[in-house]
């Protein structure tokens, strides 16, 4: 990946992304129709959260410039921040080498990505290298 784009202004209006259509067919959805999506803040480069997308969630994400996911437990689509206001403005979407993971670079709006109020969902440290 190249250097991050400059942060966009808060409240920027999203829109459809420029899409490389040829890569859409390279997404390798699992038997459940889902692919894992990793959301990274484009400015701080913090990894914010992980959620799952199916073909329709990816289509909505690319068409709207907001992150859309598919909830396995609730069996429905959801747009991140739709109720909390902590929305994500999509800047870039990448596919990994074997096609079964997406990296979604966003500008995070509001307090953060986690439903607990934390900036990132990864706030619990299991281990650290000894000093």
């Amino acid at each position: 990946m190249s250097a991050p784009d400059p942060p966009v202004a808060a409240g920027a209006v999203p829109g459809a992304l420029d899409v490389d259509e040829s890569l859409l067919d390279a997404v390798a959805y699992g038997p459940d129709g889902l692919v894992v999506g990793i959301v990274q803040e484009i400015g701080t480069r913090e990894v914010l959260m992980v959620a799952y997308l199916d073909r329709e969630a990816l289509r909505r994400t690319l068409a709207s410039g907001r992150t859309w996911f598919y909830s396995r437990s609730r069996q429905q689509y959801w747009c991140k921040g739709e109720t909390s206001g902590n929305r994500q403005l999509v800047r870039r979407v990448h596919l990994d080498c074997d096609g079964d993971a997406l990296l979604i670079e966003v500008t995070q709006e509001g307090a953060g990505a986690c439903h607990t109020g934390a900036p990132t969902c990864f706030f619990r440290r299991i281990g650290a290298a000894a000093p």
Copy 2:
């Protein structure tokens, strides 16, 4: 997450991480016994790759300071870089809020994380926000 630790010297000898044992029980493995692991370079903060861990792969990772995963297709454990030399020195491991994803911060050794020779597996851009 706090600010990244200073990069460690190339060729540093890894060892067991300091582990918060109470959090090991909070890892929510899926029906297949696996949890998704996201590997991020601690210096550049680039997201390098995604792979899966079961309880034993996490134990090996925390005990050795190298990234261990479980390959679903090959049904075996593998240590990243064991054959290529592009090993990962584990610096910190985080668990997300609902326990079903790990963020593994590493110092990447060698050419990069991807088997194609690229620094990151996420080198294909599906979409980008319009300028």
